[in-house]
């Protein structure tokens, strides 16, 4: 039997292999955030860092600077590593406590920043706890949380602005 030089038709003998026609790779999930779990954690890290910056108080003693930094970095890492743990609660309660004892009862930029950032830390930590790190995420799965967050925060900020306009502060 000699080599088969004739162009061959597809037959049952050509069921698979390198001589098959090109395979059309389907793209199924178009509205997908690649590495969505990682992006959630990156956002959580940024939000945590911003919250720390807002809460930063310039101490008079250098040792306090280091202690404050150590606490902030420690809590931030804890939040990132275990978003489903009590870390976020520690961060939020810490922020609240700092505001109670070190803050001033006035409407300023730091208050609005905290109104925006603290619920964001809470929501991102909640989502990060249920979305695996390397998961690709459909945008539609995050949309309800985003809308609720936006609604709650914008209502609060709007209330603050209105109260300022009415002179309640």
């Amino acid at each position: 039997m000699s080599a088969d030089q004739q162009p061959r038709e597809r037959s049952a003998y050509d069921l698979a292999g390198s001589h098959l026609e090109e395979f059309e790779t389907p793209t199924v999930n178009r509205a997908v955030l690649p590495g969505g779990g990682s992006w959630l954690r990156i956002m959580l890290a940024l939000t945590t860092a911003l919250t720390m910056v807002v809460l930063w108080k310039e101490p008079e003693i250098e040792t306090q600077v280091w202690m404050q930094l150590f606490l902030m970095v420690g809590v931030g890492l804890w939040v990132l590593m275990r978003p489903g743990s009590a870390a976020s609660a520690v961060l939020l309660v810490g922020a609240l406590t700092a505001r109670v004892f070190l803050g001033h009862p006035q409407l300023d930029g730091s208050l609005i920043a905290l109104v925006v950032l603290l619920p964001l830390v809470h929501q991102l930590a909640a989502l990060s706890a249920v979305v695996p790190l390397r998961s690709n995420v459909q945008w539609a799965a995050l949309m309800p949380t985003g809308l609720r967050y936006f609604g709650a925060v914008s209502a609060t900020v709007l209330g603050l602005i209105l109260s300022q306009l009415f002179g309640w502060w």
């Binding site: 080599a3 088969d4 069921l15 390198s18 779990g37 489903g84 809470h122 995420v137 949380t145 209502a155």
Partner: protein, 476 residues
């Protein structure tokens, strides 16, 4: 001993969750809203109370939407279309029971084919399907997917899982690589095929001319001879023939080109660093695009002797069946699991399915050829890495019993030599060279006996066996 190639394992979840349960987010939200509003009222500080308001609003909004009932989500995976070896395959993950669920994270297979490492988070609300493109193993029994899931209600306040799902296992038949058929010397068996026969009859190869006699077919008249001699002559041709092939697989050993563990700390450090860099590269590329599987075999994945044996057996089977021959398969380590002679495309499917389940044997012995049950007229194709004298003796005995024998060498010799360059053990190269030198002696002894020895490693081999087999006939 090398583990069987294309079987993956999915790590089990540590503590599978039962039912819906509140998460830390629910407790955190309630506590912070209460604490903020409470402290604000207690201290008379509006700025503290304000911090609790978005939490309270968020909780109210999240809990006011539909919550999941008692029913837990269920996921199952199925292949969407046929699964071919070393090619992209679509796995459809069907998820049901998603009423009141905001998002579900499914364990989905990765583009590289690993069923455990990928995750996809889909939206809830109603039943849905997530299609994931993965890559099937080259051949064999493969765990394609196990869609474990983790479900969360609105804002992740309640969660269920991880819930374990059924595994999706498929048998991936080996791909058919295109090879030329064996060009055998004239044979005496069969009546209709593509081989030459020593018997006169209807066929293509001219023997000579003879005078026309009543009863001869007009189309066999040689008109040029008539023009020269003014007498009618007809062509005498050799009959076409088909034959039987028995593929004997030597699965006693699996030789895989692979480097061993590093010896020194520096080598270990380099190896670890290289792995870490690879993982980081995959992680960062995963942040910008969803990985797509490559089409075709991965050059980074070494092919073992069993891989080459299966590939060669599939290619030979497909080619010879297409030529009209009858093919049977015999695993020499498990001769009870043989496939009888057969022909046709269904027989090819049967053989591919059987070859997909070939594994390296735990036994190192091989029965003698008289126990193989070979038909007397069959051409025996022995596929073996030929790394010991047992295989050599079996081949010699089979040829000595009068069978036409073809030995297909399935040792990945070139890949073995390439790997020794990177092997941290200094003696690795010498070990491989010694192994190959012993093999060369064995193969030369086979050739000296007139047995055709072909090498498969390149994916193709010379198929003109006439020369080597003619030499054998002359020796007789």
């Amino acid at each position: 001993m090398i583990p069987p190639p294309p079987v993956f394992a999915v790590p089990r979840a540590r503590t599978p969750g039962r039912g819906w349960r509140p998460t830390a987010a629910l407790y955190r939200g309630v506590a912070f809203a209460t604490l903020g509003l409470g402290l604000g009222i207690a201290f008379g500080r509006a700025d503290i109370a304000v911090l609790g308001i978005p939490f309270a609003l968020g909780l109210i909004l999240a809990l006011s939407v539909r919550q999941p009932g008692e029913q837990l989500p269920v996921a199952s995976a199925r292949p969407d279309g046929a699964v071919f070896g070393d090619r992209p395959a679509v796995v459809a993950n069907d998820v049901s029971g998603l009423e009141g669920v905001q998002l579900v994270s499914l364990r989905t297979p990765e583009a590289s084919g690993d069923p455990a490492q990928g995750w996809t988070t889909m939206t809830g609300g109603r039943d849905g399907t997530v299609d994931v493109v993965t890559k099937a193993a080259a051949w064999g029994s493969m765990l394609l997917a196990r869609p474990d899931l983790l479900a969360a209600s609105s804002d992740g306040l309640f969660m269920a899982g991880p819930l374990l799902s059924e595994e999706l296992r498929v048998i991936v038949p080996p791909s058919v690589e295109k090879v030329n058929g064996f060009d055998l010397p004239p044979i005496l068996g069969g009546w209709a095929g593509e081989h030459r026969s020593r018997r006169p009859g209807t066929g293509g190869d001219l023997i000579d001319l003879r005078e026309f006699a009543p009863g001869d077919r007009l189309r066999s008249i040689h008109w040029r001879a008539y023009a020269r001699h003014q007498k009618l002559f007809v062509r005498r041709t050799q009959s076409d023939a088909d034959t039987e092939f028995v593929l004997c697989l030597d699965t006693r050993y699996e030789i895989l080109p692979k480097t061993r563990d590093p010896l020194t700390d520096w080598q270990r450090y380099r190896s670890t660093t290289s792995r870490t860099v690879g993982r980081l590269r995959r992680f960062f590329s995963g942040l910008v695009r969803v990985a797509a599987p490559t089409d075709g075999p991965d050059p980074e994945v070494p092919r073992s002797s069993i891989d080459l044996t299966v590939a060669a057996a599939t290619a030979i089977t497909a080619t010879q069946l297409k030529a009209g021959d009858r093919v049977g398969v015999l695993d020499l380590s498990a001769i009870r699991r043989h496939i009888r002679m057969g022909s046709g495309s269904r027989h090819l499917q049967r053989i591919r399915h059987q070859l997909a389940q070939v594994q390296v044997s735990r036994q190192r012995w091989m029965p003698k050829p008289e126990l193989w049950g070979l038909p007397s007229s069959a051409v025996v194709v022995m596929l073996s890495p030929m790394i010991d004298d047992i295989a050599l003796q079996a081949a010699t005995d089979a040829a000595g019993r009068g069978h036409q024998l073809i030995v297909v060498d399935t040792l990945p010799a070139r890949a073995l030599l390439d790997v020794t360059v990177r092997d941290p053990h200094p003696q690795a190269k010498k070990e491989v060279q010694l192994l190959l030198a012993e093999r060369v002696v064995r193969l030369d002894r086979l050739r000296a006996k007139g047995i055709a020895v072909l090498t498969w490693e390149g994916g193709q081999f010379a198929t003109d066996l006439s020369a080597s087999m003619k030499m054998r006939r002359l020796r007789r």
